[in-house]
């Protein structure tokens, strides 16, 4: 059974081709991480899977009635909007107080119901967004760079929480990241994206794949490697064929 499947999906934004012939499956209970440099189409792929961005060719199928919890990259709230945490969690469907209290306790933020969203720290905000995703009792949780802006302990704690949630609920997790080390450890499968799927497989297989190393370099944390990548993309694009690690 597949929860979400993309088959040969291509997407353009304006005049620019962002995704070319991308295929991807999400199975129940697995954690899949999409990694790729800035501008590689990671967020667009996630938004395409959600049905926010239309495809120009290929297709996206979601299991009928699939319950998806979506955690966006960040929530920029206008300061003129007074929004207590509990009210946010009740959008667009009203939730009982007990439900809200339970889910906030689950993500490690008990008792913040009346706090304004604008007063939360980055880590607290991510946990509230995860709580909102959990309220739909999701079969799949889709997250766009959920740990952006968190420090390393915060990031590690967030991924621990995520693994616990996965273990309890059995929900599949599909997340986008450009931060490799922590992500790699937590994932069942890693998809390396750069407009197209460069390589795919277990974290170990992917981190040893030549395509992955070409994209991110060896032993660096991404930022430097991304830069180099732009100059010699063409080579590795060709090199992507032939190596099927999936």
């Amino acid at each position: 059974m597949t929860l979400i499947e993309a088959e040969g999906v291509s997407v353009t934004l304006g005049a620019q081709s962002v995704l070319q012939d991308v295929s991807l499956k999400l199975h129940p209970g697995e954690i899949v991480t999409i990694v790729g440099p800035n501008g590689s189409g990671k967020s667009t792929l996630l938004r395409t899977l959600l049905g926010i961005v239309p495809v120009i060719s290929g297709r996206v199928t979601r299991k009928a009635g699939l319950r998806i919890g979506y955690v966006p990259q960040k929530l920029t709230l206008d300061p003129t909007l007074p929004l207590p945490v509990a009210r946010f969690l009740s959008l667009p469907r009203r939730q009982s107080r007990a439900n809200i209290a339970a889910v906030l306790a689950r993500v490690g933020l008990p008792g913040v119901e009346a706090r304004p969203m604008s007063g939360l720290s980055g880590g607290q905000m991510q946990r509230v967004l995860l709580a909102r995703a959990l309220l739909v009792k999701p079969e799949a949780i889709l997250m766009d760079e959920p740990t952006q802006g968190l420090d390393q302990p915060g990031e590690a704690a967030f991924y621990r929480l995520l693994e616990e949630v996965r273990a309890e609920t059995g929900a599949a997790v599909l997340m986008v990241s450009h931060d490799l080390h922590v992500v790699m450890a937590a994932s069942d499968r890693v998809v390396c994206l750069n407009g197209h799927v460069c390589c795919e497989g277990t974290p170990h297989v992917v981190s040893n794949a030549p395509e992955y190393r070409a994209l991110f370099g060896e032993g660096t944390r991404g930022a430097l490697a991304l830069y180099q990548h732009r100059h010699d993309h063409g080579h590795h694009h060709d090199g992507c064929e032939g190596h099927d690690h999936a």
Binding site: G14, R47, L50, G51, I52, I68, Y70, P72, L75, L77, D78, T80, L81, P82, L83, P84, R87, F88, L91, P92, R93, A114, P116, R132, L142
Partner: protein
């Protein structure tokens, strides 16, 4: 009771406030202040067209205001900078409206009433239009409230929940056109967006939730209308600007109270 022009004016002001409160909070949250201006200014062109073709003024104003809203939404959706589009269209519509109105006979005298309102000349028929329009706007916003709110918080979240941000924007555009049409007589095209923004901003200083802010904005708007009318009557000042001045005064008091409460 309705024979008294002051009573009719008060009822008209409160009626308009009932619609500008719930819509005004979205104008503030979504930073649509300039959008509100453009829509309101376009109403002058609508007035000219209505007078030239013997249509009711409110219909002409609402029609052109809605056309303006849709045009702006369409152009910005195609990648034009919203600020530039609004700057061009808002002023072009106002200027074109003033030019067009000069062609219509016997209207020059009452031009001021469309720019600054003429609440003391509100008739029973006007009252019916105002309360009918306000009821429509309130019903629309209450019906869509949760969807509008989530779309305002984050469009992707709304989309992932099966909502259409485009549809919700359309709802606000239609509501705005209606509000412009019924507010024209009260404060005039130049001050309509003040009636949307100032009460909402005043309510923000004290409100802790989105619903409380909408109710607060309505109360502030109604209070400002009554206070402004009272001042206008006693000091013989123009009514529309007096109402907006009263709203600004309430805003200042609310901000100070908000600071004190937080301190």
């Amino acid at each position: 009771m309705l024979d008294d022009f002051l009573t009719r004016a008060a009822l008209a002001g409160v009626g308009v406030a009932c619609s500008t409160g719930p819509l005004g909070v979205f104008v503030v949250w979504r930073r649509m202040a300039y959008f509100g201006d453009a829509t309101a200014h376009a109403a002058i062109l609508g007035v000219a067209l209505a007078l030239a073709s013997d249509l009711p003024v409110a219909v002409g104003a609402a029609g052109v205001a809605a056309a303006m809203g849709l045009t702006v939404a369409n152009l910005t959706g195609r990648g034009w900078a919203a600020d530039t589009v609004l700057g061009v269209l808002a002023h072009a519509a106002l200027a074109l409206g003033l030019v067009a109105i000069s062609f219509v006979q016997n209207v020059q005298l009452s031009l001021e009433s469309y720019l600054f309102g003429d609440i003391l000349a509100v008739s029973r028929a006007d009252l019916a239009v105002i309360w009918g329009g306000a009821a429509l706007v309130v019903a629309l916003i209450v019906w869509r409230w949760d969807r509008l709110l989530l779309t305002t918080v984050n469009e992707d979240l709304a989309h992932a929940d099966g909502l259409s941000p485009t549809r919700e924007r359309l709802v606000l555009t239609v509501a705005l056109a209606l509000v412009v049409a019924i507010s024209l007589k009260i404060v005039g095209a130049l001050l309509i967006s003040a009636l949307l923004i100032v009460p909402a901003a005043a309510a923000r200083a004290l409100a802790r939730g989105p619903e409380a802010m909408a109710v607060g904005a309505t109360a502030v708007g109604a209070g400002a209308a009554l206070l402004g009318l009272w001042a206008s009557y006693h000091f013989d000042t123009p009514a529309g600007p007096s109402i907006v001045t009263a709203a600004a005064g309430i805003f200042a008091v609310a901000v100070v109270l908000g600071r004190l409460r937080r301190a």
